[in-house]
Amino acid sequence: MTATQPAPSNRRTSRRTEILDSRPVNLDGFVEEWPEKGLVAMESDFDPRPSVRVEDGRIVELDGRARAEFDFMDTFIADHAIDVATTEASMAIPSDEIARMLIDPGVSRRDVLAVTRGLTPAKILDVVKLMNVVEIMQGMQKMRARRTPANQGHSTSARDNPIQVAADAAEGALRGFAELETTLGVVRYAPLVAIALQVGAQVGRGGVLTQCALEEATELELGMRGITAYAETISIYGTESVFVDGDDTPWSKAFLASAYASRGIKMRFTSGTGSEVQMGNAEGKSMLYLEIRCILMAKGAGVQGLQNGSISCIGVPGAMPGGIRAVAAENLVASMVDLECASGNDQSFSHSAMRRTARLMPQLLPGTDFVCSGYSGVPNADNMFAGSNFDTDDYDDWNTFQRDLQVDGGLRHVREDVILQVREKAARALQALFEYLDLPPITDAEVEAAVYANSSNDYPLRDVLADLKGAQSVMDRGVTGLDLVKGLEATGFTDVAENLLTVLRQRVSGDLLQTSAILTPAFVPLSAINDANDYAGPGTGYRLQGERWEELKKLRHVTSATNPETEVS
C-alpha cells in the first residue's frame, strides 16, 4: 500500500539487511513507551495501587482514591460493578493467588467468579500483570462464558451493493459465522443493506444473528423493526474526559442497554485498549488499566457482553512492547468478570501475514465467545469497517490452522458447489423480496454475478439514485422484519421465511438476552446458562471431536487415502 518505505540511508548496508528491511513487518509502526502520558500497554508505575474500603455498605475508597475524589467512572464502578459484600475479603487475597486460581483447573470458573466480583480495577490489573501470555490463554480457556466458541463475520460492500452483501452473508453463514455484522459507505443505503444481510444470513444458515452498525437512533430503529437482530457499536471509554468527549456517560449508556433489552434485542458494548491515549486523554494511566475500568463499567451497567481487544485502536497497543499481551489480557478480564467477549481481530492490524496470525493465537487457541468480532466475509477492499485482520482470502489458511492445531475457530471448509448454490439462492431470494416490496429491481445478470463474484467490482453497477429512494421508502412505509417474512413466503422462499420468523420469534422469549447467547442451526438458544463453560482440566470443557472434528478435517485439497490419485474435499 502507500505507507512509505523507511528513508534510505547513505551508509552501506548488507544484502541481508536490505532483505530484512524489505519485509512487510517493517512497514508496521513501532513506538517507545511514555508511561507518564499513558503510552504504555500494561506495566506502568503511574497506575494506582489496589485498595478498597467499605463503610455502611458503600465503597468509600477505591484504588487509593477517597469517595469525594471519585470521577464518574470510579463512582459507577464502586456503586454498580463491585460486590460490596465480598470486596474486602476478595481484595485481601494476594494477587498471585488469584492469578493461580485463574489457571488452576482444580478451581472452578464459579469459584473464580466468587472472587473476581469483588475486585477493583487496580487489583484486576495487578493480577493479570502476573500472567504471561500462555497463562492468559489458559485462563481464557476456563473463564470464557460459553463453552462452545464461535465467530462473527463482516459482510459489507464498497458500493453498498445489497446483492453482494446478501451473497457474501449467505456464504459466511454457511461457513460458520454465528453472527454477521454490516455497515455502510453511504448511510442512506442502510435499510436495503440490512435487509440483504438478514436474507443472506437466513439463506446460508437459519438462526445466524445480524447487526448493522449505525448511529444509535437508526441502529435501534432497525433493531426494533426486526430487520436486524442485535447491536454492538455502543462505545465506552476508560476516562471521564474521553467518555464525555464521546458525548456519553456510564448512566446514559446503562440506560441505552436497558432500552435494547426492553425491545428484546441482544446488545453488547464496545471498548478497547489505546482509545483514550489515541484521543489524548489517558490521564497518565496504562492502556490496560483504563480498559479494565471500561470492562467493569460494562459489568455494572448490566449489559451481557463486550466487544474488546483494542478494536479500531489496535495500531496503538500493536506498536507498544507487550501490547498484544495486553490485548489478550483485556479479553481475559472481560471473561473473568463473566461477560460475553467478542475478542477483536477485526481491524487491519499488520502488513505482515505472520504477525497477523501471531496476534490471533491468544484468542484462537483457548477459544473465546467470538474469536473475531468481525472476520471480513468480503475482500478487505470491500470492508467498510476499514479492513479486518482476516478476510475472504484467508479462509483456507484459517481452516488449515483449525485442522493443524485441532482447535475450533468457528469456521469450516465448504465445497464450491454448495457455496455457489447458497449464493445463488440468497441473490434470488433478495431479488424476489425486492420485487415483492416494490424496491428497485435486481436483474438476472446481477444474480448471475453474485454467484461467481469475489468483490464489488464483479457486480453490475446499481442505479444508486433508485436504490436510495427505495431505501427511504423502506423507512417511510415502516417495513418490518415481518414484512420480509411475508415477502419471502409469498415468493416461494418458504424455508428462508421460516428461518427468519423463528429468529424474530426469539425476541418474544428474551432467551437471546442472556450472556453469550447465539442460536444453533436447530434454533436452540445457546448461552452461558445452558452451555456454561465447565472446563476443569484435560479432557473436560469444550473438545473438538466427533462430527465437528470430522468437518474440520476437510480442506480444499486433501489427498485421498483410499485413492491417492484423487483428492477429497
Binding site: F72, F76, D79, A81, L113, E216, A217, L220, M224, G226, E240, F243, V244, D247, D248, T249, W251, S252, A254, F255, L256, A257, S258, A259, Y260, A261, S262, R263, G264, K299, A301, G302, Q304, D338, G481, L482, V485, K486, E489, A490, T494, A497, E498, L501, L504, R505, Q506, R507, V508, S509, G510, D511, L513, Q514, T515, P525, S527, A528, I529, A532
Partner: protein, 147 residues
Amino acid sequence: MTQNAPSISLGPADYPLSINHSELLRTPTGKALSDLTMDAVVSGEVTADDLRIAPETLLLQAQLADASDRPQLAGNFRRAAEMTAIPDAEVLEVYNALRPRASSKEQLLAIAERLEGHYGAAESGALVREAAEVYERRNLLARPEQA
C-alpha cells in the same frame, strides 16, 4: 423486586424458556409463542406488535440471571421490563437527556419523576436520579445558557 414478579421461581435448568417453558411466554398482545405461526403471519393475524417482548418475560429472564449469579444483568432486565411501557421516541429522548451537559438537574429530576410516576419505573427513575447527583458533582449538568 419492585414489580409484580411472576409467582413461579425459575432456575438455570429452565433455560431456554422458548423450549422448556413456552407456556410461560406471552406477547404483550397476549398471544402464545405457538400462535406466532407462518399461517398467522400470512393471514395478518400476527403483526409486528406481536413480536415484542412482554415485561413479564423480562422479569422471568431476570430470575434466570439472578439464579446464574448475574445480579447486574438481572437489574438491567428489570429496568427493561419497566421501559417496555415507554414509547420509542421517549426512550430516545431520555437517552439524549442523559448525555453530558444536556440537562439541568431540575430537568433530570423531572424525567425521573415522570418515569416513576407515569410509568411506575422505579429502578429506571433511580438511575436517572443517581445520574443527576453525579453530574452535579462532576460539573456535567447543562450550563445555564445551554439548558
